[in-house]
């Protein structure tokens, strides 16, 4: 069975600064995907970024990037130039390749302060 652990229940960051959210996971699978989802206070969950385990290059989407360390089973999210609209709950999630089920971490509440 796979598990996903987010050890930071809450974090805060000043507007325009950089913040990193941590995630570790455990699996015996070699082919899988990792995700970061964002859930703003309005509650609609959206996908922020995705990483394929077979790719060594870290995924990047605009101000969002990941640090994927496969051997360490670590998958952190870096948000650069934080904006007030980044305030949300962030979930790290795991899916085996060709699977359908997501396994989520407990989430990290991020508050961006002006």
């Amino acid at each position: 069975a796979q598990t996903v652990t987010q050890s930071q229940p809450e974090m805060s960051v000043q507007e325009a600064e950089t913040v990193t959210l941590s995630c570790t996971y455990d699996t015996s699978e070699s082919n899988y995907y990792l995700f970061w989802y964002k859930q703003p206070p309005s509650r609609q969950m959206i996908l922020v970024i995705r990483q394929e385990a077979y790719k060594q290059q870290n995924a990047t989407e605009n101000r969002f990037s990941v640090n994927f360390q496969k051997a360490a089973k670590s998958f952190s999210l870096k948000i650069s130039d934080s904006q007030l609209g980044d305030t949300a709950m962030y979930f790290c999630a795991f899916m085996i390749t060709y699977g359908n089920k997501l396994v989520f971490g407990a989430g990290t509440i991020l508050r961006v302060k002006s």
Binding site: V4, Q6, P9, N31, Y33, Y37, S42, R43, Q44, M45, I46, L47, R50, E52, F91, M95, T97, Y98, N100, K101, L102, F104, G105, A106, G107
Partner: protein, 115 residues
């Protein structure tokens, strides 16, 4: 844009009532999911369906059942609601197929309170 809608944003029910939560998606997705979201626990899968009339138990199916009579609609049923089922319920859908990854799209959630 994929749209996943849920019948209610907020719902208050009494213990013992039968509760129906409805989810509709408009992108002809094969897969639909029901999750429960609780503080400190993240999202946990209750049930998912990979085709009409097909279902599979998730991690926490006890006390719940589901129905999928049409491809676009997936219902979660609490046969006899209990206070420990007070939670946020999220529906999601994803395409089927043989690609390695099928992105899940989420609805806005239903906050259910059982008194």
């Amino acid at each position: 844009d994929v749209k996943v809608t849920q019948s209610s944003r907020y719902l208050v029910k009494r213990t013992g009532e039968k509760v129906f939560l409805e989810c509709v998606q408009d992108m002809d997705h094969e897969n639909m999911f029901w999750y429960r979201q609780d503080p400190g626990l993240g999202l946990r899968l209750i049930y998912f369906s990979y085709d009409v009339k097909m279902k599979e138990k998730g991690d926490i199916p006890e006390g719940y059942s589901v129905s999928r009579e049409k491809k676009e609609r997936f219902s979660l049923i609490l046969e006899s609601a209990s206070t420990n089922q007070t939670s946020m319920y999220l529906c999601a859908s994803s395409p089927g197929g043989t690609s390695g990854y099928n992105e899940q799209f989420f609805g806005p959630g239903t906050r259910l309170t059982v008194l």
